[in-house]
């Protein structure tokens, strides 16, 4: 079903109105407590950022992405391995699952200072922190995927004559892949947020550092501008992941 063009127009109008009100209120200086900058300032800052006028510019973004991607990969690999190990060995699952669930309930973002203390302001520190969040997401995705495999598919391929290896390849791997792909978007959104978050806490590089410096000098345009760049990157990658998910999940009923 196609959307009526009036709705698209209304969406655009709403966004435009938002920026307009922001511009008017921001430049009127209603209160000095309410430092919200103006869209003009923010876009001017973003322009300056892109040409490297105020900060290290693109290299900050590159570092943040590097941390997020490294942490993401590390966490996913670790999560998959642990899930296969624990789900494949029932007594182990019964022994440790309550502890895994409890660990998952810990607000993991609060572990950031621990990583900062241990690993300093390195890229590795951020990657480790990111992976500590991602590992839970991928672990539960794969663990639940393995646990929820329908017996009828296993019976079916066994009757068709599948050996153990074939069963893994034809049933277990596709089932895990489906769940992993579904968890990919969640993992990614946490990866980026976690990388910026820990940069903000302690760092001398990266987008989180830019935000932190901006906040210290009460420069609303810097803070908002940097966050906007991160948001745009997050949304673009997310859109890419959605496309990938569609391709990988073609077999799944809509």
């Amino acid at each position: 079903m196609r959307k009526p063009w009036t709705s698209r127009l209304a969406t655009l109008a709403l966004v435009a109105a938002f920026f307009l009100v922001w511009q008017v209120v921001g430049s009127a200086g209603v209160t000095n407590e309410l430092t919200i900058g103006t869209p003009g300032d923010v876009f001017a800052w973003i322009g300056g950022w892109a040409t490297g006028r105020y900060t290290a510019g693109w290299s900050d973004l590159a570092i943040t992405l590097q941390e997020a991607v490294l942490g993401y990969l590390l966490g996913t690999v670790l999560g998959v391995c642990l899930a296969v190990l624990i789900a494949g060995f029932e007594p182990l699952a019964r022994l440790v699952m309550p502890f895994v669930a409890a660990a998952n309930a810990v607000p993991k973002i609060a572990m950031a200072p621990l990583f900062v203390l241990a690993f300093g302001t390195t890229v590795a520190c951020k990657a480790y922190f990111v992976s500590s969040l991602v590992v839970f997401i991928s672990f539960f995705a794969v663990f639940n995927g393995l646990r929820s495999i329908d017996r009828k598919y296993l019976n079916h391929v066994r009757i068709l004559g599948a050996s153990r290896m074939w069963t893994v390849r034809e049933v277990y791997v596709p089932a895990i892949t489906g769940w992993l792909v579904t968890s990919l978007r969640l993992s990614w959104s946490w990866s980026l947020a976690a990388a910026v978050f820990v940069e903000y806490l302690s760092s001398n590089k990266g987008m989180g550092h830019v935000v932190q410096v901006g906040q210290e000098s009460l420069a609303a345009a810097t803070v908002i501008g940097a966050l906007m760049i991160i948001a745009v990157v997050a949304v673009c990658v997310d859109a890419g992941l959605v496309l990938m998910e569609r391709r990988a999940e073609e077999w799944r009923p809509a």
């Binding site: 009828k152 079916h156 066994r158 068709l160 004559g161 074939w166 049933v171 077999w251 799944r252």
Partner: protein, 273 residues
């Protein structure tokens, strides 16, 4: 009736299937009890009986998904102890892998055995789905999915084909069409031994050479009927004949008593009680 010359005999020798209760043996659930029978190669046998009489248990015992707990099931003299490569099984529910296309699903059994996959395309065409090779199961209708399931089983030429109410989820028109087409491809494939579990007596008579009637739980063989209608058959025509009606009446007499027993009903003055 011509049987496959090279085929092997399927034998049940005092077979019982017991599902152990966790507490004590007296409370074990006995699904089927003391079944002894012989099925020559190439015979199309239907098993009918009230719900829960252990029809599906028989199939599990033949396929090796759950070998018999007492007695022996033998195929050509070999005792069934595990999954066998010469048995095919079409389940009641859809069991096609949802992440594989129709063609890939038909290829599975060939790939597992390391056989060339060329036959898959041919079999998909034989069940009338040549144009649907690249569709995923969710993009096919229920009837088409059953056709893929039939092709994916017959493609590796199992000696024995087990079917557990394969068409019960289909609407009545699709079902008649499927039954006719199944008979056709079965005859074309050179007649595997078929054990066909169904609730539907008309379906059973129309398709089979022989019908086994089972008792209410725990299941035993109550009646063993021959159906000597000529092949090849057209199901719509067969159902109009007098022979058909005669066999139907005879079997229904056995069956209705068991259905009433299974439902624990007491109907005053009812026929067959």
């Amino acid at each position: 009736m011509t049987l496959r010359a090279d085929g092997r005999l399927l034998e049940f020798d005092g077979v019982s299937q017991r599902y152990p209760s966790p507490t004590d043996r007296a409370a074990d659930f006995v699904a089927v009890r003391d079944i002894t029978l012989q099925i020559p190669a190439g015979e199309f046998v239907s098993v009918v009986g009230p719900t829960g009489c252990g029809k599906s248990t028989l199939l599990s015992a033949i396929s090796g998904l759950r070998p018999a707990s007492e007695g022996q099931v033998r195929i050509g003299g070999d005792v069934v102890t595990g999954i066998r490569s010469d048995v095919g099984f079409i389940f009641q529910q859809d069991a096609l892998l949802p992440w594989r296309t129709a063609l890939q699903n038909v290829e599975l059994g060939l790939r597992f055995r390391g056989l060339p996959r060329a036959a898959a395309r041919d079999w998909l065409a034989r069940v009338g789905l040549a144009e649907f090779e690249d569709r995923y199961p969710h993009q096919l209708s229920g009837g088409m999915r059953k056709r893929v399931a039939v092709a994916s089983t017959l493609v590796y030429e199992p000696d024995i084909l087990l079917m557990d109410e394969p068409f019960s989820a289909l609407d009545i028109q699709t079902r008649t069409l499927m039954e006719n087409d199944l008979l056709h491809v079965w005859e074309e494939a050179g007649k595997n031994t078929v054990i066909f579990v169904t609730h539907d007596l008309e379906e059973a008579i129309g398709m089979s050479d022989r019908i086994l009637v089972m008792t209410a739980s725990p299941g035993r063989i109550l009646g063993d009927y021959r159906v000597d209608l000529p092949r090849p058959r057209d199901l719509l025509e067969v159902k109009m004949t007098d022979e058909f009606a005669e066999i139907y009446r005879a079997i229904w007499k056995d069956l209705s008593g068991e259905v009433i027993a299974a439902n624990k009903l007491r109907i005053p003055g009812a026929v067959g009680t």
